[in-house]
Symmetry: C3
Subunit: 159 residues, 3 copies
C-alpha cells in the first residue's frame, strides 16, 4: 500500500469508530450492527475497574462482559444501555495499517452513562480509558475485529 | 477528485471546525468571522433541549436561535457568549466530500458555558451532542454552509 | 512536499501527540521519553492560571514550570504526576507542515489530575486550554520541539 492508501484506510477506521460512538449513543441499532465483524470479540471486563488488579468491593463484571460474535456484541450493548442516556467520546487515535485488510489501533475514550432523562447530572458511570483494537476489511468495509477496554479511572454510583 | 484531494479537503474541514471552536472560546471574533459562508444558516434551536420532542419547563429557544447569514451568526455567537467562559470541544468527525466545493459531516461535541471568571466550576450550561453540517469551498477556502445542533444530553442551571 | 507527504506528516504528528497523552497517563515513562526533542522547551507556567494576567491568590507556578531539555521535561512530568491518576485529552488539531522537518500546531486539551486511587471524583486540577507547539523531525521521527500551555479555564482544589 502506498501512503495515500494507508491514509485513506486510517480515515475510514476513524470514521468507523466515530459511527460506533454515534450509533450507540443515538440508539441507532441498525447502524451499530454494521460496526463489528461477524466473528468479533469485545472485552469490556475492565469497564468498571480502575485497573486489572482492582479487587475492591464494587461491581466487577466477569466473563459475561467478554462477548463473542458481532450479533452478541450488538445485543450486549443494546441491552446494557437500555433507555440510559449515554455519551461516548473517542480521540487520540493511534492507528497502524498492517495490510490492505488488517489494522490495529489504540483510541483514548471517555464515557458517561446515566438514567433515562437524567437532566440532573446524575450518572451511574463516568469513565476514562482506552480501546485497544484490531480491524478487518470485509467486503470492502472496515469493521472492528477485536476491542478491549482498559481504564485510567472510573466513577460508579448506584450500580 | 482523487483520494489525496479528498483527504486534503477532509483535513481542511477538520481544521476549519477546530478554528470555529478555538476562535469562539478565545473570543477571537475576527477569526470567527472567517468560519461561516456569507449565506450560512445556523440552527441552534436544540441547544437547550434533550431532544426534538422535549417540551418540559426549561428554556426552549425559539426561532431566534435559527440564524441566517454569516454576519448574523457571528453576532449571535458573540452576543450569546458575552463575557462567559466557554469551552467547546469537537471529535468523531464523519466528513464526506461530495464535490471539489461541497461536503457534509457529523461532528460529536461537548460544550460548557459559565459565568465570567467562574473558577468554582459553576456552569450555566453543560451539553453533549452533534453538529450536522454542510460545507462549501468559497474563494479557495472551506467554510460552514449549514450547521444544526442535536443533543444527547444537556444540563442547565440558573438560566 | 506534495499533499500526500504533508498529510502523512500531519498524521504522524497527531499520533505523536496521542502517544504524549497516553504514555503520560499510563505512566509509560520509556514511551514518554521518545516524545520531546533533546533540546525541547516546555512552558507550563499557565497551567494553574485562568489567563496571563491572572494574579489572584492561588498557586501560580513560576519559572520552575518553564522547563528546558527533553530529559528535564520527562523528569518534570514524572515528578509532577507522581502516583496521581491523570487523564489528558487532546482534540481539534490545527497542524501546519512548514518543511520536511518542521511543523507547528495548536491542539485543544482538557486535563484532570487527582490523588492516587481517587474513585470518588475528587480532583486536584481540572483544566481546559490549548497547546501551542512546534515540531521537528529528528532521525526520521517527529518530536515536540516547543510546547506552551494556555488556559481557557481551570479549577484547582487542595493544592
Amino acid at each position: 500500500m502506498d501512503l495515500t492508501e494507508k491514509l485513506w484506510a486510517i480515515e475510514e477506521i476513524k470514521q468507523l469508530k466515530a459511527r460506533y460512538f454515534r450509533t450507540m449513543d443515538t440508539k441507532d441499532w441498525k447502524g451499530l450492527s454494521e460496526i463489528f465483524c461477524d466473528d468479533a470479540i469485545f472485552d469490556a471486563r475492565a469497564a468498571f475497574k480502575m485497573n486489572a488488579d482492582d479487587t475492591s468491593g464494587k461491581p466487577t463484571p466477569g466473563d459475561a462482559w467478554l462477548v463473542s460474535g458481532g450479533a452478541a456484541i450488538l445485543d450486549f450493548i443494546r441491552t446494557g444501555l437500555g433507555t440510559s442516556v449515554s455519551v461516548h467520546q473517542g480521540f487520540g487515535h493511534e492507528i497502524e495499517i498492517l495490510s490492505p485488510t488488517e489494522a490495529c489501533g489504540v483510541i483514548a475514550m471517555e464515557d458517561r452513562v446515566g438514567a433515562a432523562g437524567a437532566r440532573s447530572g446524575e450518572e451511574n458511570l463516568h469513565g476514562w480509558g482506552h480501546y485497544h483494537e484490531t480491524y478487518r476489511k470485509v467486503d470492502g468495509r472496515w469493521r472492528i475485529y477485536r476491542s478491549k477496554i482498559t481504564r485510567l479511572r472510573v466513577e460508579i454510583q448506584g450500580v
